[in-house]
């Protein structure tokens, strides 16, 4: 009773105040007195109208010109960006010292940026990175617009080393599709805080297609419903990316390279210095369930929030790529010409340029112990081709207090390697030159050029090796009603059937204990039957 009053009374008081506020709107005169001027009907979300800046009132010929104009006011912004992964494409592991990042790793999608910079840099926050001579200190080469455009007209296409389209062109060549030149002045005058569309223009389309890479990031998150992501729900909380990935000095928090896999303590106060704001715990704490659900709160020392609250990823028709087999690339159709074939849902299934793909939607994750440290295969690392090569190895175990069971997407593939030097190879794929794989369909030339660009020895003999690339799943958080139920893990063939090192009731059992228990139960039953039988016989005999 008392608890009901405790809840109802504040609610009534709150209602009384808010209802009054709604019922009696304040008149402008009353607030400001006689001399007060009426304010504009609507105000801009920003404190600056960029249409009014002289520096932006000109026809820009290139992206760097726009950046120079931006820097006249935002004097430090380029320097800040130049210290971020979005510019360097490097990430040093603070614990192992390993230098990772797109620039250094070899993945099992497009494999490597080396020798393919002109294509890959469509997703670099910069202009002009076309080979290893790119100068990372030139401030005007920082691309402000790719993150801050609000017009939706700023596009960077593969093949232009990060520059947008300055002249109308047909893209892809021969497709008959025309891409208009970007109006740089219009874009520069209409900049704003990054939206989901800005971030998504690269992060939704990694590895050359919508939803291809991550599994929990695709264009459906531009306008998501509640079912897809309870935080980003367009009609609900409507989080932008940076609501969680809080940003300071252009440093965007939260990265799969340096993950906080296990956070302890309560929710974090905003404004507090916080190394990992991009985590569930930073808002929800590590005991997020009501006290009546103590058992669930006891799970948080072993289970990541995402394990229960993201029951499946790629929850839409877009789907995600689950495998890429490069060993089928360069195979032509019966007429000797390149073939492009789609799967039943219209997603790429085979491409003579790239090989064979497998896709799926509503994917049930795999589960791994993870402590936030992942060791990546970087360019030049030795491999054992008799084993499946792990592109990244997740650290962690049941004994590690900093480990939790995480849901992951595992992207499986086959990709080329040097049979003598035992390294994954770099291959020159994009471009119109004679050695580009996607132009000439010649593996030998493509690998020779790629390895030369990366400064790696190449024996001239290549084969294909199986690889696995693991991705932590952390987006597409379902409403709480759709979290996993107990039995989905606590059963013989449940979700966590392959997770080792921890005892799980209903999944695990002790043969000795089980046998002992069943024996006791059987003996009790037999005792009851014998006892009852004796009583019946004794009663009959009088």
């Amino acid at each position: 009773m008392f608890s009901t009053i405790r809840i109802v009374m504040p609610a009534l008081i709150l209602y009384a105040f808010t209802a009054n506020a709604i019922a009696v709107p304040t008149k402008p005169e009353a607030a400001g007195g006689q001399g007060a001027q009426p304010v504009a009907a609507s105000v801009m979300p920003s404190t600056a109208d960029h249409h009014k800046f002289k520096a932006l009132q000109k026809q820009f010929k290139s992206g760097p010109e726009v950046t120079e104009a931006c820097l006249t006011c935002h004097t430090e912004s380029a320097k800040q960006v130049q210290h971020t992964k979005h510019w360097t494409w490097e990430s040093v592991d603070p614990q192992t010292g390993q230098n990772r990042g797109k620039r250094n790793i070899i993945n099992n999608f497009c494999t490597s940026v080396v020798s393919n910079e002109a294509d890959c840099m469509a997703c670099h926050a910069g202009y002009g990175w076309k080979d290893n001579r790119f100068d990372f200190t030139v401030e005007k080469n920082v691309d402000c617009l790719v993150c801050h455009d609000t017009t939706g007209t700023y596009r960077k296409l593969p093949g232009f080393a990060g520059h947008p389209v300055y002249k109308p062109l047909e893209f892809p060549p021969g497709s008959g599709r025309r891409v208009e030149a970007v109006d740089l002045m219009r874009v520069a005058q209409n900049i704003g805080m990054p939206s989901r569309t800005n971030c998504g223009s690269c992060h939704f389309f990694g590895a050359g297609g919508n939803g291809t890479k991550h599994g929990d990031l695709d264009s459906s998150l531009q306008h998501p419903g509640k079912y897809l992501d309870v935080h980003m729900d367009e009609k609900g909380l409507n989080f932008s990316c940076q609501t969680c990935h809080a940003t300071s000095k252009h440093q965007v928090s939260g990265s799969r390279y340096n993950m906080a896999a296990a956070l302890k303590g309560g929710a974090h106060m905003r404004g507090m210095k916080d190394a990992s704001p991009a985590s569930c715990q930073s808002c929800h704490g590590n005991k997020p369930h009501p006290v009546t659900m103590t058992k669930l709160n006891q799970h948080t020392d072993k289970i990541a929030c995402q394990t229960c609250h993201i029951p499946a990823f790629a929850r839409n028709e877009i789907g995600t790529e689950l495998s890429w087999d490069w060993s089928h690339a360069t195979k032509m159709g019966p007429d000797g010409k390149p073939v492009l074939r789609m799967d039943s849902a219209g997603r790429r299934a085979f491409d003579s340029k790239k090989g064979t793909f497998a896709w799926d939607s509503y994917v049930i994750p795999e589960y791994r112990w993870f402590n936030g440290i992942a060791k990546y295969k970087v360019i030049g690392d030795k491999i054992d081709p008799t084993q499946t090569v792990q592109i990244n190895e997740f650290g962690g175990s049941a004994d590690d207090p900093d480990s939790r069971v995480w849901p992951v997407k595992v992207h499986r593939g086959k990709q080329p390697y040097d049979k003598v030097n035992l390294t994954l190879t770099l291959q020159h794929t994009g471009g119109e030159d004679d050695t580009a794989l996607w132009h000439n369909y010649d593996w030998q030339k493509a690998i020779t050029t790629g390895m030369e660009a990366g400064g790696l020895p190449y024996s001239g003999e290549f084969g294909f090796v199986s690889t696995e690339h693991t991705w932590p799943i952390t987006h597409m958080v379902a409403p709480k009603g759709d979290a996993l139920s107990c039995a989905q893990c606590h059963s013989k063939n449940g979700r966590l059937k392959d997770v080792e090192g921890v005892y799980m009731p209903a999944r695990d059992g002790s043969k000795v204990l089980d046998t002992l228990g069943w024996t006791l139960a059987l003996l009790a039953l037999m005792g009851a039957l014998v006892h009852g039988g004796i009583r019946i016989i004794a009663a009959k005999r009088g």
Binding site: Y227, D233, A349, S361, Y362, R495
Partner: protein
């Protein structure tokens, strides 16, 4: 005498309980598919179009979509609807059994379960037909025979495209109805 009646009653109760328990699994079948949801749907659709006997696709429903629109989640379910005038005609023209139109169009459900695998849910048309007399039994036996062919897959043929926009049945026929349907 008591023993005989008691035994008979016990037998009736046992058979009744067994029938009650197994009825569901007898009326409906579930078979695993070697393909994903979309490819399974596409291959079944292709088989339906190729099997003849007046079969035509009537629609492809996604019962999960309304749930998602309401903010909820479920693993994917796609329901293929198909009909054949050869089998539907005699039922629709007989007042005594016209109520069986409630079973039209024929539905095949393709869905994913929590084990990540794809399954096909089918009605046991043959058994169900036998419950409604000889005429319906014979018709439904034909349906069952064709239905078995819907789920025979040839792994050597490339995956066809899933047909998403099958013309829905309107006025008893549809675009697909020119070649069949109901």
């Amino acid at each position: 005498m008591f023993k005989v009646i008691g035994g008979f009653v016990a037998g009736v109760v046992f058979v009744g309980a067994a029938a009650y328990n197994f009825m569901g699994s007898l009326m409906f079948r579930e078979v695993p598919s070697p393909y994903g949801v979309e490819e399974t749907v596409a291959r079944i659709q292709q088989n339906i179009q190729n099997v003849g006997n007046g079969w035509a696709l009537q629609g492809l429903r996604n019962p999960v979509k309304p749930l998602e629109a309401d903010g909820g989640n479920a693993l994917p379910v796609l329901m293929i609807e198909a009909c054949s005038t050869k089998y539907s005609g005699p039922i629709l023209n007989d007042d005594a059994i016209r109520f069986l139109s409630i079973l039209m169009p024929c539905k095949i459900s393709v869905y994913k379960k929590n084990d990540g695998k794809t399954y096909i849910g089918l009605m046991n048309a043959g058994l169900m037909g036998r419950m409604f007399g000889t005429k319906v039994g014979e018709i439904m036996a034909g349906v069952a025979e064709d239905q078995a062919k819907f789920t025979i897959f040839d792994p050597d043929t490339p995956a066809p495209a899933m047909i998403k926009n099958t013309p829905a049945a309107s006025g008893g026929s549809s675009g697909g109805g020119a070649a069949g349907g109901c």
